[in-house]
């Protein structure tokens, strides 16, 4: 056994050192989430190395929750482990304000900053400085099965109401054949069920806080939101919905188990892609509303940013420019086709006639444009963010709130209790953080 171990040891050591021999260049460490578009980028690195032979990229690819936690720990302690971070529209305004990110105002001219979609760029800008460059942007929309709608004799409007959704879901559900009229997020987490529910609540006229930062779960709009959601899911949702997040629902939809799915616009390329059994049967519509002037869609952009602690800012900027520049979109298009281009970041992409042929292009753009992070709710609120509240404490208490609604969906607690508990725990968290005096 000792011999085998030593032999293994030696062999791997040799391998590793052979791999490191060529590293007389600047090495940057890039932390990223294991989503499809990022994985695709890792496959296209030959292009980057051809253009920048003096830079080597070490990828740290992690699952979203682990990534977020590691990156946050590192930046908040100024650990300096990463040179480029993949973060979202929730983190950028908070971290930018703290001075934790390097401003990206001086990217080269061919980066074409003015080409960025204003809704997306706005969310990544703090006090006039761009602190992160969007890699892909998303809103949310309704994805539905055209064949099932036809079968039910219904037609999906381009801009449905929640009543339309309920009607369609009831009509499509066929539990005997494992077809569930609607798949929605139920897994607890501020970026999972609470992203959906917060966006949904906006269209019901609800809000997280009033102008004095008092939580609003004890108000009717939130009760309406939760009751509607629970009724819909209990009647027409899949089993185990309280553990379903984006990925679980995607898998369900791809296998043809969902009649409708309201989720991120980026899912469109997956449900129409090669892994999908229903690729040619998918239609798209705007996220529903209730006639109150706000739709239930969110706005998010996975973006690349440089932590203030990085010692390799120049190399990091070179990389960010390469990865988010219009040329990168063209590169992906040439290798993998237009449908696989990272969506939702640039005006020029949507003006491109080639891209206009992609079935979900227009609906994605319309959805992004209809979200307004600076005025997310029907009533005025003291915060920004559509499906989140851009304060540091949000991810903690929103995840705990998410647990409550997840439990209500699982049936282990009632809607009223979930709302009551949420009200209590958010009040407590806000008191502790000093918002409520």
């Amino acid at each position: 056994m000792h011999m085998t171990l030593r032999a293994l040891f030696g062999a791997t050591a040799a391998l590793t050192f052979a791999g490191m021999a060529a590293a007389a260049t600047t090495e940057i460490t890039v932390a990223t989430v294991n989503n499809g578009d990022m994985i695709r980028m890792q496959g296209l690195m030959d292009d980057f190395y051809a253009k920048h032979p003096d830079i080597h990229v070490n990828w740290v690819t992690l699952e979203e929750n682990v990534l977020r936690q590691k990156v946050t720990t590192d930046i908040a302690t100024k650990g300096g482990q990463f040179d480029v971070l993949t973060i979202g529209t929730y983190e950028v305004p908070i971290w930018g304000k703290q001075g934790w990110l390097v401003s990206l105002d001086d990217l080269p001219a061919d980066y074409k900053k003015d080409d960025l979609l204003p809704a997306i760029a706005g969310g990544l800008t703090v006090d006039g400085h761009l602190y992160a460059s969007p890699f892909y942007g998303e809103s949310s929309m309704v994805m539905y099965r055209k064949d099932l709608m036809d079968k039910a004799g219904l037609k999906m409007p381009d801009a449905p109401t929640w009543a339309d959704i309920k009607k369609a879901a009831d009509a499509m559900t066929d539990k005997a054949h494992e077809i569930y009229g609607i798949c929605l997020r139920g897994k607890a987490g501020w970026g999972e069920n609470m992203a959906f529910l917060t966006a949904m609540s906006n269209s019901f006229g609800a809000k997280w806080f009033d102008m004095k930062w008092h939580p609003q779960f004890d108000q009717k709009p939130w009760a309406d939101t939760i009751n509607f959601y629970l009724d819909l899911m209990k009647a027409d949702g899949p089993p185990g919905a309280s553990n379903n997040g984006f990925n679980e629902n995607l898998a369900l939809f791809q296998q043809g188990h969902c009649g409708m799915w309201i989720d991120a616009t980026v899912a469109a390329s997956f449900v129409t892609g090669k892994d999908s059994t229903v690729a040619d049967k998918v239609g798209f519509a705007l996220a529903p509303d209730n006639g109150l002037g706000k739709r239930g869609n969110w706005l998010w952009a996975w973006s690349l940013a440089i932590p203030a602690g990085s010692a390799k800012v120049e190399a990091a900027k070179t990389f960010i420019d390469w990865a988010t520049n219009p040329d990168y979109l063209a590169l992906v298009a040439s290798k993998e086709g237009w449908a696989n281009v990272p969506p939702g970041t640039r005006k020029s992409l949507y003006e491109n006639p080639e891209y206009a042929k992609v079935p979900f292009a227009k609906m994605t753009l319309d959805s992004i444009n209809s979200a307004d992070p600076t005025h997310p709710t029907v009533d005025p609120v003291p915060y920004t963010g559509v499906q989140f509240v851009a304060i540091p404490e949000f991810q903690g208490f929103a995840t705990e709130t998410g647990q409550q609604f997840s439990a209500a969906l699982a049936g282990t607690t009632s809607a009223a209790d979930a709302l009551k508990n949420s009200q209590e725990l958010v009040t407590k968290a806000m008191t502790k953080a000093g918002y409520i005096k």
Binding site: Q69, T73, P239, G240, H257, Q403, T412, A433
Partner: protein, 290 residues
């Protein structure tokens, strides 16, 4: 027997271990204790100053605290029950002669070699998932409605996953102990007409007591800090149905980034662990002439 000289040498030899472990214990403990009394949120550098006992107050009055306490106990006791009882039965089985003993033994101990994260992921996705999991497929095959393990009985599911990982450990220790059982005594008892059951109760069980104690001691230490399995499978939910004290500390310190609150939680957890340790070690002390 031991001379003054050898006593001194012995102290010297124990010293590195003791000093290192003492530092390993005291440095984090003191820092944590300090942090637990201040306002310290990593994401909000504006919040500073002494917090008094407020961090403790918020932790202990957390909606999930009491439940987390029970859940922690449930996991420890549940897993111990399954692994000890299951381990004894398995060890008895493995001790009997049969064909392919080596291979079966390899099968039985395999789960112990699997990373907790991996086993949690495998159980959650490939087995307990209500749509694509193995159990769901079996239920559908039998014409039943698939059961949604992780939302309907989250705690039990976690106990099963953790017990699966620790069953081999218990089996191994109990098997080794069983093999050292005096076979002559066994045979003598058999000659005297003692039934299998009475031989088991009066000879085997007393012989296994020491091994059982060891299993309980070692596993308790690891079970009190079960984290990856919960993090991967249920995230402490639905609601707080599978939140343990360790998980609650995680929520405070790595989700809220409330270092103050998380530290207070850490101290509470240490105190609770030590209460458990006190009882376990008491019990062990009687059985182990360590």
């Amino acid at each position: 027997m031991a001379t003054q000289h050898s006593r001194f040498a012995a102290r010297l030899m124990v010293a590195p271990s003791v000093v290192l472990l003492f530092l390993w214990m005291i440095v984090p403990l003191v820092t944590t204790l300090y942090f637990s009394f201040i306002n310290y949120n990593l994401l909000n550098p504006m919040q500073t100053g002494w917090a008094g006992f407020s961090n403790y107050f918020y932790f202990v009055t957390d909606q999930a605290f009491v439940q987390a306490l029970w859940n922690t106990i449930a996991i420890v006791v549940g897993v111990l029950l399954i692994t000890v009882v299951g381990g004894i039965l398995l060890a008895l089985l493995m001790d009997m002669p049969f064909w392919g003993q080596g291979i079966v033994r390899v099968f039985v101990i395999a789960p112990f070699f699997v990373m907790p994260t991996v086993s949690a992921l495998v159980w959650k996705n490939m087995f307990m998932n209500p749509v694509n999991g193995m159990f769901a497929h079996i239920a559908k095959g039998l014409g039943l409605q698939p059961y949604d393990f992780l939302s309907q009985s989250p705690l039990l599911s976690i106990i099963v996953i953790v017990a699966w990982q620790w069953l081999p450990f218990a089996t191994l220790i109990l098997l080794t102990s069983l093999q050292s059982l005096d076979s002559e005594q066994q045979e003598a008892a058999e000659m005297d007409g003692a039934s299998w059951l009475s031989r088991f109760i009066y000879l085997t069980v007393p012989h296994l007591t020491r091994a059982i104690t060891v299993v309980i001691l070692i596993q308790t230490i690891f079970l009190l800090s079960v984290f990856a399995e919960i993090f991967v499978t249920t995230n402490g939910g639905p609601g707080t149905a599978s939140t343990t004290i360790t998980y609650l500390v995680y929520v405070q310190s790595l989700l809220n980034y409330d270092v103050g609150g998380g530290s207070a939680g850490g101290i509470v957890a240490v105190i609770l662990a030590n209460i458990v340790a006190f009882f376990v070690m008491r019990m062990i002390g009687k059985n182990l002439d360590a």
